[in-house]
Each structure stands twice: as C-alpha cells, then as structure tokens.
Subunit: 367 residues, 2 copies
Amino acid sequence: MNIPKQNLRIPGPTPCPEEIMELMSRPMINHRGPEFKELLFSVTERLKQVFQTGNDLYILTASGTGALEASLVNTLSPGDEVIAAVTGSFGSRYADMAEAVGASVTRLDFEWGTDVDLETLRQALQVQPDVKAVLVTHNETSTGVVNDLEAIAAMVKGEFDKLLLVDAISSLGCVPLPVDRWCCDVVATASQKGFLTPPGLSFISFGPEAWKARKSATATSFYFDLEAAQSYLEKGQTPFTPNLSLFYALDRSLDVLLGEGLEETYTRHAYFADMTRRGVKALGLELLPRDHCASNTITAVRVPESIDAKALVNTLHLEHNVVVAGGLGQLEGKIIRIGHLGAVAESDIIDCLEALGKTLQAMGFRA
Amino acid sequence: MNIPKQNLRIPGPTPCPEEIMELMSRPMINHRGPEFKELLFSVTERLKQVFQTGNDLYILTASGTGALEASLVNTLSPGDEVIAAVTGSFGSRYADMAEAVGASVTRLDFEWGTDVDLETLRQALQVQPDVKAVLVTHNETSTGVVNDLEAIAAMVKGEFDKLLLVDAISSLGCVPLPVDRWCCDVVATASQKGFLTPPGLSFISFGPEAWKARKSATATSFYFDLEAAQSYLEKGQTPFTPNLSLFYALDRSLDVLLGEGLEETYTRHAYFADMTRRGVKALGLELLPRDHCASNTITAVRVPESIDAKALVNTLHLEHNVVVAGGLGQLEGKIIRIGHLGAVAESDIIDCLEALGKTLQAMGFRA
C-alpha cells in the first residue's frame, strides 16, 4: 500500500521527523549482545530524564495499554479496593482494566469535558480508608481535558498516602509531569505520543512504594512482569525480544527532546494548543472542555448540531488530506478532536484550521 | 548509535531485505482510519495463507511471548490440568507461563537435544484423563530441535481430543506447519523469525475448539484478550494502537513470502540447514540434536571441551563480524547456536563457517 503523507492531526500516532524515521530502517542487531546493552542503558537513562525520575523505568514492547496493564498486575491483587477517577473514555478503560485483574473498583465519574473534582476525590478517599490505589488519567485523550495531577498527587500521597497509578500516555513529554517531585508511584506512557516515534513501545516508571506493593500483589502476567524486566535490565537486556527499530528511533528522538529542553517542549505544546483553541473559536466553534482544563496536546471541539460529525471528519480527510479524530463513546458524533502533540509545525495547525473552516462553510455552517 | 551491519546468525531477529526495511520509515497514518483497515484486512488474510488456516488470526503489538500469553489466558483457568512437553529452555518457559496463570502443569522433560517422545506423551495423557491442554514447542530454539508436530497433533487431537497449544515462534513460515491439516487449535509466532521483518509484532491463530475453551476460561489479560481483538478486527481495527511501521513491512514481506511460495521457502530453509550442518561437521564439530530432529531454522553445535564458548562467541563477533548465539540454561557454555532462518544468503553461511573454522583453529582446536 502506498499511502500519501497526511496532515495527521489525531492524538497519536503523530507524524515523526524524517531524521528519526530514517533510523527505523536500520539493520537488526543481537538483542542479547553488547551493542543493544549500550543502547538500552542509554535510552533508559535519558527516558528517566524526560520522566524527571530516579525511579526504575522499563521499556516494554507493547502499546501504551500494555504499560497500563503492567501498572496494575504488578501492584494489585484480586479484591483490592481501588478508586478510579474517570473523566472520559480512557479513564473508564483504565478502571475496566483494574476490574479485569479482579480489583474492587470505585469509579468516580466526572462529566466528560470537566476535570477531576478534588473535593469529590477527597471524600471518596475518606469514605474508603482501605483503598490501596488511585488511578488517574493525566490527560484524557477522549475529551481533551488535562487533570491537575500535581494537586491530585499532593492529596493522594500527602493526605492519604495511597498508591498513585498514572496513565500519562498522551501527556508525558508534552506537558509538565515531574514524576518524583509530584510523588507519582507508577507512570505509564507510550512511544507514539510525545516522543516523536511510531507506536510499538511503552514506558513505565515504578517507584519504591510500587515495589512494596509488588511484594504482596498476586495479579499476574508473565509478559508484563516488572521483576523479570528488572532482572534482565541488570544484564542490559529485556526479557523478551524488543522492538529494535523503535529503540534506534528513540535513541535519536531523546537527543532531540532533551536537546530542545523539557521546558521548551512544554512551551511549544502550550503555544500550538493556544493557537488551535483560538483558531477553532474564531471559526465560531465551542470547545468541549472548560478553559481551565483544556489540554495542551489535544483539542476537543463541539460539532454544531446542524453538522454531521462523521461527514465532517471524512471530508477533511478525503478533500483536504487533514486527518482528525472523532468522538469516542458517549461523545461519538458530538465532537472532533485535533491533535497537536509531538512534532507539529505551525503550518500543520493553520492548514488544519483552514480546512476545517472551508469544510464547515461548504456544509452550510454559519457561525 | 551507529552499528555496522553484521552477519547476524542468531535465531532472530534476522536480517531483513532492504526493500522491506525501507518501508519501516514510512509516515504514520490513522490507525482507526480507512487506510489501516484495508492494510489490516489484507495482512491478516495473507498471514492466514502462511499459517494455512481458516481459523481466526490476530496480530498483536508484542513480542512472540505476548502471543504465547494470549494462547494461555484465552483458554485456561486456574487449576486446569495442562501437560507441557519440554525439550529445552523455551518449552520450559511456556510451562512456566502456564503456571503463572494458575494452571496445574505436568512437565514432561525430555533430554535437551532430543525431541518429544510420543510414547511418553501418550502415557501421560492416559494417566491424566482430565487434562485440558497440551503445550508443545514446535521448534525448540534453545537446542536446535524440531519436534514432530504432525505426529504429536495426530495423537493429542486424534486419540485424546485435547486442546493443542503450539509455540511456533521459530518455525512458522520456515518449516511446514499446515495449521488446519494438523488440527492445531492455537498457534503463536512472531515477526522477527520467518517473516523477514523486525521484532515487535506477534501472530496467533485461534480455532473453534479454542473459542469453546475461551467461554469458560477465567484467566484474564486485558491486553491479550482475543475477544476484544475479534470485535475490533470486525471494524478493521486493533483494540490498541498497533505498530504501524511493522504493518508496512509485513505488507511487503508477505508478498515476498507468498510470491516465493511456501514449499519453496521450506526447501530453501532445508537447504541452508543442511549446508550449515555439513559445514559444522566438516570442521570436526558435533551437533547437539540427533540427526532426525535437527532443526531447519537453527543449528546447535557442541563446543569442544578445550574451547571457551564465551570467548568463541566474542571472537566471532569482534574479529569476524559474525554474531552467533550461545547456550541457554543448562547448555550455557556448552553449545553455540547458528541461525539460518529468514532472508539468508549462501554467502552468509559460508562466511559464518569460515569464521568459525578460523577462530577455532586460532583457539587451538584440532579436529
């Protein structure tokens, strides 16, 4: 299949710089040899810099959901009480995953488009003193909402001393998430979001409190066992054959990211998010999220009632080569989502906004 | 890191043809869009041709071990009786994995270097009428032994009607494995062995008897749930973000494999295996496996007692740019393993044998 290059404005996979993509074609090496050992150590150390953590960190050959599964099976046992803060489709899925490992999950459901209400979370923690872990989605990709993880972590760790498991798939590397400063015990993310690389690897940081939980956890997975990951890492290996091509790409992308500087990367994401939000509003459209919690990696836009959302997405794709995402779950047909994370150029956003404006006009929308 | 191209003679990852590797650099697309749908359907259908199966088949973003985990969590429940035929390190690992999901595993341990003894397996099945599944490693990568899967399957299915789960990671696409003709219920393999592509994807076929077992199975994994894989496949999607780059490569590699023809591919593997075995014997070395079960994808060679196996592997690498694998587990320091699967050129084998001869001579070995 020969698919022409698109203005890919979904929330990942993101377009990746050519200098990084070229490395995907490099020849295979022995994944149990000295060259891979050096590569694994080097990439792991630099990932820790992006995570801003001294915690253990593992690279898994799996999508981000694999790292989320690792966060659960390495800390929980069937019957454990868990609170899941759900602000959208991905938060709900994280809760489903905890249920799949047998945890007794209390779901705190917040209206889709709003962020976690701290007082509601505090009350839930007060009511359930035996809760073992709290699950939080840092950036809810389905609603374009970023949760105030710093405040949530301060409460979960500072006031209640519970294990904090964070889905940071569409946030890490794009918006501030200093893992150690905020005391996040387990943080999971993936290669195809903020990391300028294709999908296929996920990353998980695992702190001392998580290791304590690991000792008594009876949920199991052979593939996502972080004790095995640790014992192989000590030898400079992964337990199972790793995705070498993505390691080559990541080796370069981490240089690019750290070369730019984390603060600069966050500023760049804030800039493109602001540009997208202003542009969308200028077209007469409304954002789904409240302003205070609008995400810097993805913008969720309400589709006017007179417009068929599916037709809008298809027309943008077929007539303008602009690929945006539709709504998930209860938001299907009600929103479109514009990704602006990873390697974004100003022209990508302008092109997307122009195409959106023209298409809406052609579909009869008047602001 | 800039690692020069090696004569990579390990049993996977294998060197991949340049025309396939080039596709790894292609731009990202929407994994929930029409282009990926077409790609997924097309690749899945052609994989079924290589598996020679009409069974359901799923592509997982994970190493081969992930597909093995899927084979177990989708068919077994804690307490289920399982027989594992163990002929080496990978057979032992498959048994470990079944134990990790809570199965009660009877291990039939065969001497490393020999294949599964059919009579021993028959007796075990007679003694344990309540066995739910039999685990078999088709090609045992750690010992260079290929098991007679056709005969094993005829017994397990024909005489005892038990579920047959097959680790075909280093065999499928290289040696005959007609999944439906041999009635193999579940067969798992990976992208970096016979498929001319890098590691990062695994493939699993799942037949009607396996689906029956799925209904009562209570072992769980969210990431490796094949019911979710099925419901997304019906939409032309995968449940989680797939490794797009490897799909691009696989799209081409399947054309190459099916263009060559399966029989021709098997013949080619037999030819290079024969060449390797003869060459090794001509150097005065002995094979680990008996002749009747020597693998066509990897040759395990006994290291003479006077020779330090680790030094031999290192010298081949550092002085001759030839990368072979050492022994695993109880065979560490006792054998080396030469891979000859995937895209092998005659010159690769000759170069490897020449380097081996020279290195052994320099180390003082006289046949």
